[in-house]
């Protein structure tokens, strides 16, 4: 395998997951929370594909494609929620949407 070893790819994937987690936890705009969630899913995907290459096993790539489909579903439902919030004139701030807080 030319270039860097799989460990480098896994390190980038871990950093990407950490950046995405930071965005999910810090940002208050639900749209940016969803975008950061995409970053986390992409970090997971990169690790899956790197380890699939490492073990010569196709299941990792298949799982990455399934993760992509789940990400598309999540965006579909999440953006539907954002549109519904906007239609009810609720503020787009995840800190103020606390009616379901236990």
């Amino acid at each position: 395998m030319l270039g860097p070893g799989v460990a480098w790819y896994v390190a980038v994937a871990a950093c990407l997951f950490g950046v995405g987690a930071l965005g999910v936890l810090v940002r208050r705009n639900p749209l940016i929370v969803l975008l950061s969630l995409e970053l986390m899913l992409n970090g997971g995907n990169l690790a899956l594909i790197a380890l699939s290459r490492h073990w010569h096993n196709g299941a990792g790539q298949i799982f990455a494609l399934a993760v992509m489909a789940v990400a598309a579903s999540e965006v579909c439902v999440g953006l539907g929620l954002v549109v519904a919030l906007n239609r009810r004139r609720l503020s787009l701030d995840v800190d103020t949407l606390s009616e379901l807080r236990g």
């Binding site: 395998m1 030319l2 270039g3 860097p4 070893g5 799989v6 460990a7 480098w8 790819y9 896994v10 390190a11 980038v12 871990a14 950093c15 990407l16 997951f17 950490g18 950046v19 987690a21 930071l22 965005g23 936890l25 810090v26 749209l31 969803l34 975008l35 950061s36 970053l39 992409n42 995907n45 990169l46 290459r53 490492h54 010569h56 196709g58 299941a59 790539q61 298949i62 990455a64 494609l65 399934a66 992509m68 489909a69 789940v70 990400a71 598309a72 579903s73 965006v75 579909c76 439902v77 953006l79 539907g80 549109v83 519904a84 906007n86 239609r87 004139r89 503020s91 701030d93 103020t96």
Partner: protein, 198 residues
């Protein structure tokens, strides 16, 4: 191992550029105040990730990544951002509250946990490299693996997408009750007043 060929150096260079632009675009997604720019930065992140997938012999996944994410997901994000209007929300507005500090600490703890878990599990076993066949990662190979070995996962994925599409339509559609409620300004006024105070 010591003899570094020209191809090896080239792949290293491409990897370094892709990795840094990937992480830089990720930081940009998190730190832009305007969600529109965040969505545009996500495209850069996805493109550099696709380059890394190509370096890992995953041609089909790289193409699917560009098509699905840059072609569909980001476009949908941009539509919704244009619909709700760009609201600027600087990420560090209002100074460091205890919530922000806790969130940064939690994210850092998560990163440390991942690094420790991977490092403990993978000491040495990630070092050896190997060659894969020429068919690894091609569309024909992925299709055979997906539709022969993992047919159930394929079908479940399609059901998940169908359910999500139905849910998105239900969440985004006008219901008569909601339209009637929105048409009565008397009942909406107090809530709007609260909104304005906030």
């Amino acid at each position: 191992m010591l003899a570094v060929s020209a191809g090896d150096a080239l792949v290293w260079a491409v990897w370094v550029i892709a990795a840094f632009s990937c992480l830089g675009a990720g930081v940009a997604v998190v730190s832009f105040a305007n969600p529109f720019y965040s969505a545009l930065a996500l495209i850069g992140n996805l493109a550099s990730l696709a380059v890394m997938y190509l370096l890992l012999n995953a041609e089909f996944v790289a193409a699917a990544q560009v098509l699905v994410y840059a072609g569909a997901v980001v476009v949908m994000f941009l539509f919704v951002i244009a619909y709700v209007g760009p609201r600027r929300e600087p990420p560090w507005s209002g100074g460091p509250s205890w919530q922000t500090v806790g969130a940064v600490g939690a994210a850092g703890a998560l990163l440390v946990e991942i690094v420790v878990a991977v490092g403990l599990q993978a000491t040495g076993s990630l070092a050896h490299d190997g060659r894969v066949g020429a068919a690894f990662g091609t569309p024909a190979w992925v299709g055979r693996v997906f539709l022969v070995d993992h047919l159930l996962a394929f079908e479940i994925t399609s059901i998940v997408l169908l359910v999500a599409a139905v849910g998105g339509v239900i969440l985004g559609s006008h219901t008569r009750r909601l339209d009637a409620a929105a048409a009565q300004p008397a009942r909406r006024e107090p809530q709007r007043g609260v909104e304005a105070v906030r």
